[in-house]
Symmetry: C2
Subunit: 376 residues, 2 copies
Amino acid sequence: MKVTLNRSIFMQELQTALRAIPGKATMPILTGVKMELTPDGIYLTGSDADVSIETFLSKESEKAQMQIEQTGSVVIQARFFNEIVRRLPEDTLTIELLSNQQVSITSGEANFVVAGLSASEYPQLPEVSSATPLKLPIPLLNQVIAETVFAVSTQETRPILTGVHFILEENQLTAVATDSHRLSQRVIPLEEAAANFDMVIPGKSLVELSRSLPEHEEFVEISIMDNQVMFTTSTMKFYSRLLEGNYPDTRRLIPTNFETSITFNGPQFLQSVERASLLSNEGRYSIIRLSITNEGVMLYGRSPELGKVEERLSYEKVEGEPLEISFNPEYMKAALRAFKDSQIVIRFLSAVRPFILEPAEDNGNFVQLITPVRTN
Amino acid sequence: MKVTLNRSIFMQELQTALRAIPGKATMPILTGVKMELTPDGIYLTGSDADVSIETFLSKESEKAQMQIEQTGSVVIQARFFNEIVRRLPEDTLTIELLSNQQVSITSGEANFVVAGLSASEYPQLPEVSSATPLKLPIPLLNQVIAETVFAVSTQETRPILTGVHFILEENQLTAVATDSHRLSQRVIPLEEAAANFDMVIPGKSLVELSRSLPEHEEFVEISIMDNQVMFTTSTMKFYSRLLEGNYPDTRRLIPTNFETSITFNGPQFLQSVERASLLSNEGRYSIIRLSITNEGVMLYGRSPELGKVEERLSYEKVEGEPLEISFNPEYMKAALRAFKDSQIVIRFLSAVRPFILEPAEDNGNFVQLITPVRTN
């Protein structure tokens, strides 16, 4: 194996593969990156138990200026390799496999010789295929992830809730996440047909996917097989294991009757919640209180040791009955951040029933739910 | 106590005082900031055991738009106060001392009431005075600190070495730091006379001082009394305790005879050292090897488990005898960073004697010394 190519382009590739590579691993070879040099270009593979990333840098890429002298493959300790490549003196580098899995890395007058491992010891990636994969614009997939993944459970007591539930049926993609205290659901009507699916992807994988999807590409294809999902772009394959088990039926959780509704400017209300949450550690739980009366709308926070905060809120519109309701400000902050700049409407049934949040202009495609805290 | 003023100006003041305030303190009142409202303006004081900062915001400051309704003083939990001020909704805020040391903080429709502490419980700052304080340009003081403070010892076995030794005599200021493996010394000829001194300032205090000195001011005055030094600008007083004990006589440590000298482009040599240091953990110590022969100048690194690196170095000039010498790359990196962009000359006597580094263009005012590692 011997190749000479542009250093900064190779470094980008390496960074992408590195995202899947753990600092420590129970299988030591997984701290390495697998480099495969074929007549077509360079494949780099990184993997931990849950996520694998395979990148491809084509020989045809003009920027890569790739000169392949001999094909082959090897595994190199990834973080260390990355440090070396990053610090090389010139714009190009040459990587050569010597005898005994020794790898030579040369740039200008600097030469490194490091110990590699045989590529044959590296675990095989799963074979994933789907006759009609779902094709989505990358920004849309990133948006769906951002709108749901924050609501997954961080507790391992119900592992299935640590993932986002994706359902494709009747030309409609639904993504929903809940930790049983709050829920976030995004629905996307699809134009093209694709094979139906029903899967739960670990939240951590989705966060990593979102960071890894190339910015300069438009589309990603999603394929499923057994307990794996694969996201494919023209330069990258991203694999994640799926969570096993039945995801709870969340459709019946979202209420449809309401007694009170209030419309806020989202970012402004978020700032008020952030202020109130500074004084919200009443007892074990973090709680703030929203009061909607004929006299106005108030937000209260209190912390027995530190003090209290109160604020008269501006709002766009109030409808229905007066209400006093308490909730965890962390859930509210996360929900409001997911709505970004929009006007949002919050609909309540009573002080003890979950309430829902939606963009005021939305047609029901994005809805969040928060369970209040009973204070009496 | 009641005052209304511009929020962002007050926040800047608070940030400065906050630099001296520890997250946790053995005396709980030291996690607070003391706020003193006088007819002239606002004093804020923050302190840990070693460093105290007192800022002053004048009533005359146009930007502050200060309206003083009633003078007074109180101590407020500092990090919490900072969080509140940072999140307030409007451009101005009002701070008022209520009964029982309760403090009201109001901005727009948001009102906080938090528990304060009596200012009379806050420790007094030391009284420091000097008939003829030393006056230095702030950028020059920052430079001296940057050129020396990295070389102080981080070990508490010889506490005196954790500080920088400042000596003012014969109209010349000398700053020197050493951890007994390397040394850095800067000499500054002074134009104005000032009272002689000889003091050791903790390295940590100097790092904090450098961060705290206001960028928009030109000069700082340095006064000493007993075991305290005070740095004064028109808006800030920065106090630090001094280290007690005798600083070793470092003048005789700097050699004056040499057998070999080499001149490098500083930043280029630094990059080569950084590369070599990636593979430098031979045994317990980090070591790289420089070889100067008639065939050229080489730098070597080796790590039994990982591999090896070698690089042919470009240099400006070599004089004297061939030499092979090994040293800790961390010391070399720190030294080279302190020289910034200059050409540097390194002078050696032998492979086992400390060598010195100087800017090639310098007149002896900035010198560093590194002890090599014996490898045989």
